[in-house]
Amino acid sequence: MSELDILNYLSEYKRIFSFMTADEIMKKDLITLTPENKLSEARVIMRDKRISGIPIVDGEGKLVGLVSTERIIRALEEGVINKKVGEYMTPLDKIIYLEPNDTFEKVVETFEKYKYGRYPVIDKKGKLVGLITKHDILRAILRRLHSIYIHDKRREAFLSKEVSILTGEEFIENRASFKYEINTSSIMEAGEGTTFLKKVLEKRNYPKPFIRRVSVGTYEAEVNVVIHAGGKGLILAFFDENSVVVLVRDWGPGIEDVDLAMKEGYTTAPDYIREFGFGAGMGLPNMRRVADRLIILSQVGKGTKVEMVFNIREGES
């Protein structure tokens, strides 16, 4: 695949990954040099680490320039390879950079527009916080592709059997660490199962931020069952030392177009639901945000199954 193809490909996915920001895409463990280092040192690092550009920072970690392999090649030709980086780097005012909050769309558009290989990411104070190459974008997408929506024939097999799509294991109800039957058509009562699950997780001493993620994902799924599936469904949770798997299933009408449903702001909720603060069209995007892996399996007329895997993330314990 040529580089142009990759960019075209990414453009098509701009909207789907619209919830990602530069902060999530960028590489954070960076190799940097200061203006005092020599170009020859940059050359050795680029060769050994197989990188094609090095950000140059001052003593406070602020970005002041960038040195690329092209620059090194020219420096060799010009016989200045033993000179200081500071004199030959691309200065800050000539560098296109990104900010941590920039959207996926902005990141891809920057690649399309400027055709450079890498873009530093700097915070409001000018401090270098990351670097983004095309490689990093692909890596971030692959990480996010943990969310899979299955539309084809496979869904029948999985919808009729209580098997985890993510792990292949059988979901045996009586082996679940937690089970709650959703049985209410009243939107006022939605969320009881999640509140109950949260208390159980608290008793098991899982880390608090982790419990919040599990609860937010489960709550959105539970509310969906009440709004869209006649209020009859099942929440099962399987606890492990470092992870919790949550399965929320119903036998309701199913989702016609999961891709559409995943779009932020898209909603099929009836008007009266909105009076209760629901129907913002954020349920599925919220689930995707909090879960480490998410699968939504749905067939019209047969119901919907949401499987979420939550792993205790670094910094949560």
């Binding site: 939605a190 999640t194 509140t195 949260k198 937010v216 709550y219 209760f276 913002a280 919220n286």
Partner: protein, 113 residues
Amino acid sequence: MTLAEIRDILEAKVYACEELLDKEVKYGCASDMISDILAFATPGSVLLTGIVSPQIVKVGKILDLAGIVIVRGKEPLPETVDKAKEENIPLLKTRYFLFDACGKLYERGLRGV
């Protein structure tokens, strides 16, 4: 800022958990959309909202919010008050509109998440 200060600033009525008003509030957030709240509110925040159903307490519990203030003078439903007592989440009501309530708290130093 404590919840008691927030009560005073907003001239609010307390419906549940008066004994917890010395709780320190870290941030403020405001929305009438539950999914937005789930997406953006951080633990220890006070939530200003027009939602009066018990859902809002469940959301408060899920997110470990410090307290909930219902705006525009709306009365919380009796179920909502019961739920707030059950879940130990302070529940208040102010006559101010959402915008004004936020402004008053911001003016006194409370910041958003």
